[in-house]
Assembly symmetry: C2
Homo-oligomer: 244 residues x 2
DNA sequence: AGAAACCCTGCCGTTGCGTCAAGGTCAAGG
DNA sequence: CCTTGACCTTGACGCAACGGCAGGGTTTCT
């Protein structure tokens, strides 16, 4: 048989068979005078076996081991490993499909799924289009997505934002967008903000901030100078009180 | 944030993030004076989304589409496709595990699983260590594995080999191993062989032989000249009677 | 001041072939 | 006889999503 014929017979492509030769899975057969590969019935039998095994999901080197004429013990081991591997993959796929289903179920917000704690928090928060509030929501969504924040903190924050007075605080922060870094309102706002934070929340803040040091700078970089000053004061206070 | 920080935050490797820049999934952020990438909170949010989507199994270009700020409709479509794809994969894996289980269940013969028809045939066949019979078994295993043979033919063959007289025929074929191509026993054996084949079997042979022309030559190449002559006569007869 | 722990830009390796590219070979038909 | 067309040959690049390494600079801690 020529390569195309044996390929059609066992249901492989010529390219695959040449590949098997290349990687040493199947030795190169004799050649005809014209250089064509001349395959025997035994080659076909071997290739049929190779096909069965690769279709089961074995890698080519595993197939090589399994075919190494000492098949017996070796093979069973490989197959058991493979089955375990497939079981893992299957569970994996099921988990993914589960999450996919959750995603497909609720298409309102494009922000993706959030933990129940954060969901409650966002539901509690007053409807405002303050840019600063938007930044906060973005930040909270991030810490939620990264698993950095605890449900406890979200709960405490929920009681905080339930107070309609926070809207005014956000507006005062927004108002500092164009202000210089030494604007007197900075100190006042920082003090009022800290006064609004209940003690339990202070206690709940993890001492090393938010796991990643650089996140603090990145956060400050999002604000105008005067606003950043307010946020910095708040964060410093959280750090100190959190520790003490 | 530097790349290592944001990577730790969202749970990716720095290498992956750089890869995303490279393929245009996420634009390169500003650089610090020293050349380090400087990431913002928004980058972290984006990367968190990327991670969620890739973990679901989306390819990077699909993620790119899904993130293209028009997310809404596009995304749901992609996700539904993905779910269908995962369903296929899951079924696939289950099928593979099923066959794996079958393989693990019966480890006696290393030849792999055979169709019920062939199994019955092999069980019926008398125990002989005739090399010619071994060739036949190999050949039958091959056509079975490739799905080239029908269960009907196996059944007809089973009735044929149930006759203990076939052993003698095989032995006469073996005896021709060293014979010249014009040995008088050739004609006799060929005639006896054809006489042993029931008419139903002739009728059941597909007219175009065995799908692949070259298989015939390959088969003949396995025999010594005199034996090949016998086999060739048999095959010719099959071809002619099969058609007529 | 030196080591540890970062960061940078390439470039090769992985898996199992698909897909050209740039040709030889062979059987059949005008 | 010459031309298709369907085969065959070797060789090399492409793919998906990064991992790992080389060879170098920066920052930071001690």
């Amino acid at each position: 048989m020529r390569i195309g014929e044996i390929a059609a017979l066992v249901g492989l492509t010529t390219r695959a068979i040449r590949h098997y030769h290349h990687v040493g899975l199947l030795p190169e057969p004799e050649r005809r005078p014209n250089g064509y590969r001349a395959y025997s019935v035994r080659d076909a039998v071997l290739l049929a076996r190779v096909r069965r095994l690769t279709e089961l999901g074995l890698g080519l080197d595993e197939v090589r081991d399994a075919l190494a004429d000492d098949a017996g013990r070796e093979l069973a081991e490989i197959l058991k490993e493979l089955d375990a591997d497939l079981a893992r993959q299957e569970a994996d796929i099921r988990e993914r499909r589960r999450r996919l289903g959750a995603l497909l179920a609720e298409p309102p917000g494009a922000t993706g799924p959030v933990s129940p704690g954060l969901a409650a928090l966002l539901a509690q928060a007053p409807r405002t289009d303050s840019p600063s509030a938007a930044k906060d929501r973005e930040y909270l969504t991030l810490v939620d997505a990264t698993g950095t924040g605890s449900q406890e903190i979200f709960a405490l924050l929920a009681t905080l934002v339930a107070d309609p007075a926070v809207v005014e605080l956000y507006e005062r922060l927004d108002a500092l967008a164009e202000a210089p870094a030494d604007d007197p309102r900075i100190v006042l706002l920082a003090a009022d903000l800290m006064a609004a934070v209940p003690d339990e929340l202070f206690a709940a803040i993890p001492q090393d901030g938010v796991v990643v040091a650089g996140l603090k700078e990145a956060l400050l970089a999002e604000y105008a100078p005067a606003q950043a000053e307010v946020v910095r004061r708040l964060m410093d206070a959280f750090m100190k009180r959190g520790r003490g």
